[in-house]
Amino acid sequence: MPRRSVLNLTLEAVAILALLLSTGGLVPRVSAAPSEYEVKAAFLYNFAKFTDWPSAQKAGLEPFTICILGEDPFGTALDMLQGKPVDGRPVAIRRMMKPEDLKWCRIMFVGRPYADGMERLAGYLQGQPVLTVGDNPGFVRSGGMIGFVPDDGRIRFEIDPDRISPTGLTVSSQLLNLAVIVRSKESSGW
């Protein structure tokens, strides 16, 4: 009798396990730790929420456009932001291979190969109310506004406020408090 119960229990356990494993086959795999670009996408959404664009851009009902210039390292991670509200507008994602179309962009994530020549691109974008974000090493020092930096398995970000303020963008103090402030030499007031 006890033997029988143990057998039943084992069978049920196997059935439950099989069920768990079979649902595992149906559900897309997501590993325990989120991937780097899932986290960076969520950061971009927060940057959008904690930055104010000049009022001229607030007229109309265009979507809140986040652009990726050049190579897209996010894969599909960025598409998750699509349609989420920022400032009462839905987020739209645009991928561009050339910087010309930037008037649509509120945030521009600079991928390769543009990120490697950020000095040039920064000159081109000068004064435009576009928040440039990148994750190239030294992105902010070479002319970007917000750069992701890895730190012991986590993601932090650098901000150069001197590069942001002339464009009319206002970054909230909450964002600045959490950022590593980097002031690139050329904009240090000389």
């Binding site: 039943n8 780097e36 993601i155």
Partner: protein
């Protein structure tokens, strides 16, 4: 047979619960992408990610060929734990027992005790191990819990990287980088058992944003427990801590950290002291004085994306005035490490270190140590190579530590580990390792009176645990295996099993009774430290985490530990084996539910069961902690915590060697406010 309908019902409930879970998982994770936009910036910054950038050696849990658990700072906050030992209770496979309000017995995989000596504990890379007995004075260890980023626990030997004494496990307490603790934080709490505590922390940037620092001060007061007969005991504790940390970069390649602090306090205890004259034994109530001071510096230099060196140095002093003994112990430690990928499939870490210990011990008749001062040095070198045999599939890790110490000479501690990932969500690992527990002052130079009786001629007859310089290292040969899986996105399961063979363990060999004149005339029965105990332990740790919906997380852990210790042939020790076998719980179960009732209200419930300790006459217990937290406004959090809510006041442990009276842990409630600016 009568079980069957019940099981059927259970199965259908589980099936019903699983199916919607699977479909909601599909909806939430379109194309396998996790939506993290609901997280705050602070949460995002504290999130560990699978970094694809090749420069850092960060490994996600799934890829470690060892039994590892991690407790995050947020887990600690939500548990309501007020001290490091209480936070460790949340980790599967760790045995924590409170002796009195300030003293604890903590171990993993057995051999628990106040002077447990097979676990290595580090805070930010600084070993808090004391060479007096190869263990930890837990009453000296404190930090602002809000600063703790995570506590990583490796169960099983970690000697290859961490060195001697990482026999049964390594506890690594890691604090947040200063950049993550900016601004002002003020906390205050008041309650029944956790009487009053308060902390303040301030963090800011310097060097134009290239550096960050924080300073903190805290104070805590804990009420005493109950004596065995149910009266209020005098083991109240109060403890203060001041500490700082600064991190800064010099260029993109160099990063520096400096940190340190001072902990002072007083802890009450009631203890039996032995004396050479009548009445030979008396009970003293005393406030132990505690002091711990430490300062640490670390420099990391990135040479290339595949190569990084680091240099770390610290000095620390700990002072404890117990009724039986006053100890001051100073440590200087320097370690160099180089992490390099010399070849495509090799990931190597090698390094070398030097440690200097110096102590000063003030004895009593109850406990004496000779010589009064001793200075020892330890020189070590280690190398470990992680070889990818099949990319993303099979990895082999091999390495060894070489250590030279003043007690037992040269020790070799190799290990080999294999990690097999047949599919992305299934990881199998297995390991075989050797680790040693090197002798300490306790086995070499100590003499502890265990009991006294009046004897002939008005002289006492004493039983004394006595050290001897011939004591050798304790050895472990460990076999381990484990499996980790994420069958579905919101469920994870971690199983580890081990079989440990210990040799040369400490035994106490009775010697003939003899007249002894020093430190006082008496007839003494010495129990001389020997290496004549062996043990086999085996067991398993199972941990599962299930998050059926976004706002509810459920965790469960079960630990099974079997011990079979016995004296070797020729040993006269009839006590140690039984003590070892019966002083760690065979079964331990933890269940924890974390719910976000609304965006602003959190509810946490923790149910724990710990099996009985027959050698100590301690009954098993089941207890419940609960916490409700309310985020009143941005930066303002109030919480109410209930601890040990069911089961009544309980005794958790009895100390070995020193005759400190254990006290019962009582039910407690406290309220806490946390403000952030």
């Amino acid at each position: 047979m009568r079980l069957r309908p019940g099981l059927k019902a259970l199965l259908s409930v589980i099936t019903a619960a699983l199916l919607p879970m699977a479909s909601s998982a599909i909806a939430a994770e379109r194309a396998g992408i996790a939506d993290l936009t609901h997280l705050s910036l602070e949460d995002l910054m504290n999130l560990r990610v699978e970094v694809t950038s090749a420069s850092k050696r960060t490994e996600t849990l799934g890829k470690v060929a060892a039994a590892v658990s991690v407790l995050t700072g947020d887990d600690i906050r939500r548990s309501g734990a007020t001290s490091i030992p209480d936070a460790l209770r949340l980790i599967s496979g760790v045995q924590v027992a409170r002796i009195n309000a300030s003293k604890y017995a903590i171990s993993a995989r057995g051999f628990n005790g106040r002077f447990a000596n097979k676990l290595l504990v580090l805070i930010d890379g600084r070993s808090i191990y004391t060479p007096l007995f190869s263990g930890v004075f837990w009453e000296l260890q404190d930090t602002l819990l809000e600063d703790v980023d995570r506590i990583e626990v490796i169960r099983g030997p970690g000697a290859t990287l961490w060195g001697a004494n990482a026999v049964n496990g390594v506890i690594n307490i890691i604090t947040k980088p200063a950049a993550a603790t900016q601004g002002l934080l003020v906390t205050g709490a008041a309650g029944v058992e956790e009487r009053a505590s308060g902390g303040i922390r301030f963090g800011d940037a310097f060097a134009g944003g290239d550096g960050h620092y924080r300073i903190h001060a805290k104070h805590m007061r804990r009420d005493g427990g109950l004596t065995e007969s149910g009266e209020e005991a005098s083991d109240d504790m109060n403890r203060s801590r001041f500490g700082f940390r600064a991190d800064w970069n010099s260029g993109p390649a160099n990063s520096f950290t400096a940190q340190g602090g001072v902990t002072t306090g007083r802890a009450g205890e009631s203890s039996t002291m032995f004396e050479p004259t009548a009445p030979f034994a008396r009970t003293v109530e005393q406030q132990d004085r505690l002091l711990n001071a430490d300062i640490l510096g670390r420099w990391t230099r990135t040479l290339s994306t595949a190569s990084e060196i680091s240099l770390r140095a610290y000095v620390s002093r700990e002072t404890v005035h117990l009724p039986q003994v006053k100890v001051t112990n100073d440590t200087l430690d320097v370690e160099f490490q180089h992490h390099v990928k010399p070849l495509e499939r090799h990931d190597m870490v090698w390094g070398a270190g030097y440690r200097l210990h110096s102590d000063d011990i003030d004895s009593t008749f109850s406990l004496s140590v000779a010589p009064v001062r001793r200075t020892e040095q330890v020189i070590n070198a280690f190398v470990q190579d992680e070889i990818t045999l099949i990319p993303d599939m099979l990895r082999f890790t091999v390495g060894s530590k070489f250590e030279q110490n003043g007690y037992s000479g040269v020790e070799l501690q190799p290990s080999a580990r294999l990690l097999w990932t047949p599919a992305a969500d299934h990881t199998f690992w297995t390991a075989v390792s050797r680790a040693v527990r090197t002798p300490s002052r306790a086995e070499d130079d100590i003499r502890i009176v265990q009991t006294t009786r009046p004897g002939p001629g008005g002289l006492p007859v004493t039983v004394e645990a006595t050290g001897q310089r011939g004591f050798d290292s304790e050895d472990l040969l460990a076999f381990e295996a484990g499996y980790r899986t994420n069958p579905v996105a919101n469920l994870s399961l971690d199983v580890a099993a081990f079989y440990n063979i210990y040799d040369n363990l400490l035994s106490l060999e009775p010697q003939p009774i003899a007249f002894s004149a020093s430190p006082a005339p008496r007839f003494a029965l010495p129990l001389l430290a020997g290496n004549r105990l062996s043990a086999r332990t085996w067991g398993a740790e199972v941990a599962a985490e299930w998050q059926p919906i976004e706002s509810w997380r459920f965790r469960g852990a079960y630990t099974l530990l079997k011990m079979d210790a016995e004296s070797d042939a020729g040993s006269g020790d009839t006590v140690s084996a039984a003590a070892a076998n019966g002083s760690s719980p065979q079964h331990q179960l933890d269940l924890q539910s974390s719910t976000d009732l609304t965006d602003d209200i959190e509810l946490d419930v923790i149910l724990r069961h710990v099996g009985d300790l027959p050698a100590l006459g301690i009954d098993g217990y089941t207890t419940l902690d609960a916490r409700i937290g309310w985020r009143v406004a941005e930066g303002v959090e109030l919480s109410l915590v209930g601890q040990n809510l069911v089961g009544g006041a309980r005794l958790e442990y009895r100390p070995e060697f020193l005759s400190t009276d254990p006290t019962r842990v009582e039910r407690g409630v406290y309220a806490k406010a946390t403000l952030r600016f």
